[in-house]
Each structure stands twice: as structure tokens, then as C-alpha cells.
Symmetry: D3
Subunit: 137 residues, 6 copies
């Protein structure tokens, strides 16, 4: 079994806050991440897919297919978007990097399985210092 | 004369649009950068200062001072902010990377001159593919 | 005047040799770069354009236009190509990084001028240790 | 048990195609990667070795030894080479990144074991967007 | 379960040698790393913490808390220090990257557990070519 | 005229202090950089050479020659060294990044001139946030 990885990037804005809390509580927990008009990042999304190597191609999965899936299922919906306002599949979800990883997994896993490969992990790099990785439920 | 550089980062959101234009014109020129709720980036700000080397210190300028100036004049005002809404010194200015460089120059040049050194350029890295540099008027 | 930069990447192979020389001379000057079947790199092409900021857009030049020019004039011709064999505008030219920079300048400068901006420099990153920059003749 | 990693780089060219297929089939599956004269990359090879820490040295394995093994077993054979034509141990193998990882494992694992340590994984970075990792059969 | 990561950096000097050995033995094993007056690196410390996502915050752990723990337990003690001479918790330990990872684990694991999360791994990047990862005893 | 650049790295330790000052003065000016036992960095040295392109080779200068000069004149003397204690050509010089750039210029410029090319600048990257560039006296 070999693991292949594809990186794509998107630029998005978000705001972290809990509508059930007071402004003071939000400020205490989320600090500057809860500023009213939001802030943003250049996110990097790294998807790891595992499988056996096809002897005819030398590929676990054609990276062109993986790239297309990543764009269709995730990048087109989040790039140059506000993650609190613009993305139907994130509605009602706190757009923390952790929750983005889970939400992206739920969209990418079946699309990758439909190509005969298996999603292994979702990695999101939010800044040069903060990253998240998720391996499924 | 030696040139020293200091890099600082900030995460901010912005939206590019011209209020004097129709939505269609904005879409035609700014594309996805004009989405209503904005998007964001991890910006890198690189400031170049030039001067002679002080024989007592070996420094053109103490980088602690340069870091403090960059934070006080720029980073504190733009980090985790929306550049259209939250920053008094950007009000009424299209927050393109070009205009950010010019606005930052106007705040940084006198503060650096007050320390006896000279601002040479402002470089802003918006994404891994897009950068701007400004050397003053 | 503000300087804007756009980075694009391409993966290509090449071989350095001088057909007027003996194999021994080629080996002495070009070493492993003259291996018969070639080798390759992930090249980064960074184009710097200078100009005044348009007050309506905040742009020196629309980066979408710059990206399109870079793809049409350079990237489509060299990406996933052999620079000795596949590129009509490089025929008869030693595909050193220096010569690539000059050849790309000759294609990019008029296309950028046609958009009302001015090409300032071509930078090519060949490996993480070797780079070239060219500012025109 | 501690995991240590060493990165080395090589620049090589390759072409992806299946000689049992028609040109059209190759084009359909491999696209621009099947161009006749090949293309190339700056590959990064990252080898992970695991083991206990030697109390006399503080090392799992001397990185000088690991570097020497990587050069002797892999880098010298592939750097500035065409992976389809020049490398005896890749003859008859499709030079996809997946297959490179497997072929490199087979050469590196016994050489590392001979030094009393254990190969854990082979990671190859082909471009800034495409990577492969292999943990053995 | 989600894995979050935080990167911090420190600049330190060290010297690798074994006081029980002759100078010749030290030179044979540690080479230039045993030079008498030491050398140094910009180290990167990447801490991975795992846990469930808190539904109120969307966080495994507040990264502000993780950053504070990393600074209080490690960075303040090692940044701009000599790892052989200046750090009480490294006294008597060979300051190899392997041993740094183990020593940092012992300080970080309880502090992270006290916040209700679980340390998963310590990764140290010593140079762009040499890294270590430790997952606990 | 084309500009070529070569990057090499070295790991070294240093301490910033002025022997003519009191400990308090040193602490006030140099802060943690004046700690008694020193600290260290992974330095990157980037040398820019300018010249015309030789029509026989396509080169401004053979990068193998430039690499050899950088190693012989600088890297061998400073890699895995203490810049205050171990380097004859730095004796009596405050090892700030500014002064390193000047000292390296004085050694590299004549060696590069002897090969028929011209040194244009010395760039030193001390950390991911601090850099210096020097273009000669």
C-alpha cells in the first residue's frame, strides 16, 4: 500500500464566535479571531489517499482525478469565500480548522471511494504555525 | 551602506470593489475578489531599511526597534482585521496589495527615520504567487 | 511607481551541451548537466511588472491578465516539455537558465506592454540553490 | 523509539507511458506526462529511520551514515539522470513517484538495517503539490 | 479525534561530544558537530495534540493555550541559549535532536494533559535536511 | 547583463556584545543575543554575480565554480563554527549579520573577479524573519 498526497490552496475569510455566548465570552475564548468583520488566511489543503499501485499505470490514483475531486467538492466552494456566510455545507458549523477538516472529509471520502481509492487523511495548514490533521471518525 | 530586512505576518480579510461601479463591472474587473462577504490571506510584510553600520553595535538599526515599529504602526492595526472595515488609515482606499504597500510606507517611513535609519522598500507577499514591492514616491 | 510580481511554475527537462564541442569538452564544462538523456527541474518563473496604480482599481495591472499572458506566452510551451526538443522559440538556443530568462523576456515584454504596463524583470528559480534574474537588454 | 529523518534532493527527468498501449491511450491516462521527450522535476527524498537512542551518542543513527547510504544507494544513480533510460534498477519499471518510492525502499532498507537501524518510510516530494509516502510491503 | 499542530521556533547553539571519550573518538563520531566552541541552528518545534472537538468552540484545544505552554515549558528556556550550558533541564544530557525531543515531551505532556488534551508527538526540525519525531515512551 | 544567484547554507553560533561596554549596556542593546554562551542559526548565504552570457556555454559563470569559491572562501570557515572564536577573518569584528555580509564580500569579490565575473550582492538570511543584503562599498 502506498500513500499519495495532493496539495491545493484556497484563500478565505472566517470569524470564530458562538452565537449562544455573550460578546465578552466570545472575546475571552476566541480573542482577535472573533472580530466582527472577520479575518482571513491562505489555507493549504493536503489530501492523502492510500491504495495499491496499479501495475498498468504505476499510480495509486490518477492525480488529475484527485485534483478534479478536490476542486469540485471543496476548492470551488471555499476559495475567495467567507466561510461563515458563503458555503452551504458549512452553514451552522463553527468554521474552525478542525471543523473544516471534518466537513471536507465528508465530501471527499465518497468521491475518492467512487474512483476505487481510499481517503486516508485531510490536512489543513491555516498559517505557517497552525495545522490540523483528521483521519476520519 | 547595508540593507536589512525584517519580516512580520498578519492575517486579514478584504474585498476588492469600486463603489462607483455596477455589480457587473465589479465582477468583470475583480472577479472572485469582489465577492460580497470578502475573503482573506496570510500576508507577509517585509520591510527593508538601509544605512551605515554603527561600529559600536554592528547594526544598521536594532531589529528589536524595527520589529516594534512594524507592530505599532502596521501589524496591530491590520492583523485579524477586515481591511475594508476595521482600519482607520485605510478608510476610503481600495485595499489592493499595491495600496496597502503605499499606505504602510506612509506610516513606517517617518517612524524609521526617527530612529536615524531610512526606509528603502515595502514588500508584501499576499499569496505564494502574488507579491508587491514599493520604493516610495 | 509600484512593482507587482506573479509566480508560475513549470516542470521541464533539458540537457546542456555544445554541439560544436567534443564529448570530453562537454563533460568538462557541463558535467552531469550534459548527460545524454537529460534531467529536469521544477522551475519557478517570477515576473515583475512596474507601473502606476490605477485609481479606479488599485492595480498596476490586473493579475488575471498577467497570469494569462504568462501562460499563453511561456508556461503552455514549456510545461512538461523537453526544452531542447519541444519548444520552437528555444530552437538552437542552449537551454541554460540565463538563456531561458532572455527568451521569456522577449515574449513577455511586448504582451505586457500591450496591456499598458512595463516588464521590469524575469526571475527563474531552477533549484532551491540556483536562480537567475534578467532586467532586459 | 525515536524517528529521525534526512532529506536529500535530486533533479531528474522521466516520461510516463505504457508501451503496451496506443499513443491515444497513453495520452488519455498520462496526459502531458507522456510527452515523447520527457519532462523533469526537482525531487526531494525524505527517509525516516526509527530506533532507540544510543546513550553514548544521543543518536538513533549517525546522520552522516544515513546521508552516505542515501547517496550511494539512490542519489548517485538518479541525480541529473533520465529515470526511463539511465538507471539500471529502474529498468522496466514505470517511473511514477509511487514506483520510485518502492524501488528506493528495496535498496535503502537492507543498507540501513546493516547499520543496526530500521527504515520506517520513504517520502518523495515530486512538486510542491504532489507527494508520495511508502512504509514497506 | 482530530490532531492539531502548533509550530514555534528557537535559535540555539550546542556541541555534541561525549566527555567519557577521547578527543579523537569524539571527532570520529561527531565530526564538525563536536567543535569546541559549538555551532547553532534555527530549530523549529512542532507539537501535535489530539483530542475530540469541543462542540462549543470547534477546538481540540485553544491554540493560545498551546502556544503559552510551549513558550513557558520550552521556548523561554532554550531560545538564544547554549543547550549544553544554559538549560537546567538539559544538564547532563547530550543535546542531540533526539534527546531534545524526549526532554521536551517530558515537560509538555503533563502541561497539555492539565488542559484536558493529549500530546501526540514532538517534531523538531534542526536544519532543512534533518528532522526528528517522537511519540512518547 | 544577467544576474545569477547561488545559495549555500551554514550552521554557526555567535554572541553579540561589545567588550568596551558594561554587561548592563550589552544587555540593554543586544538583549538575549548577548547571552554569555552564545546561540546559533542556520544561515543562508545567497551570492549574486552579474555578467554577460557566454555564447558557447549559455552561462554568466559556471555555477560549479561559484559553488567552489563560496565553499573555499566562506562556508568551510564558518560552517559548524563559533563566529566569535573560530574564524580568523572575523577576529575583532562584531559578528552581526551586517558585518558578516561585508566580511564575506571582501573574500568573495576578488575570487569571483578572477573568474571573469563580477560580484553584485551578498544576501544573508539569518532566520525566517531577519535578512541582510550588501552591494559593496
Amino acid at each position: 500500500m502506498v500513500y499519495i498526497q495532493r496539495r491545493e490552496t484556497f484563500s478565505a475569510s472566517h470569524r470564530l464566535y458562538n452565537a449562544a455566548w455573550s460578546d465578552d465570552q466570545n472575546e475571552a475564548v476566541f480573542g482577535k479571531c472573533s472580530n466582527r468583520y472577520g479575518h482571513g488566511h491562505n489555507f493549504q489543503l493536503i489530501v492523502t489517499v492510500k491504495g495499491d499501485v496499479n501495475p498498468d499505470t504505476g499510480f495509486v490514483m490518477n492525480l488529475v482525478d484527485l485534483k478534479d475531486i478536490m476542486h469540485r467538492e471543496v476548492i470551488e466552494h471555499v476559495d475567495h469565500r467567507n466561510l461563515n456566510e458563503d458555503v452551504p455545507f458549512l452553514k451552522g458549523i463553527q468554521p474552525s480548522t478542525e471543523n473544516l477538516a471534518i466537513a471536507f472529509w465528508d465530501r471527499l471520502a465518497p468521491a475518492i471511494a467512487a474512483k476505487g481509492a481510499q481517503l486516508h487523511s485531510i490536512r489543513i495548514i491555516e498559517t505557517e504555525n497552525n495545522f490540523v490533521e483528521y483521519f476520519g471518525a
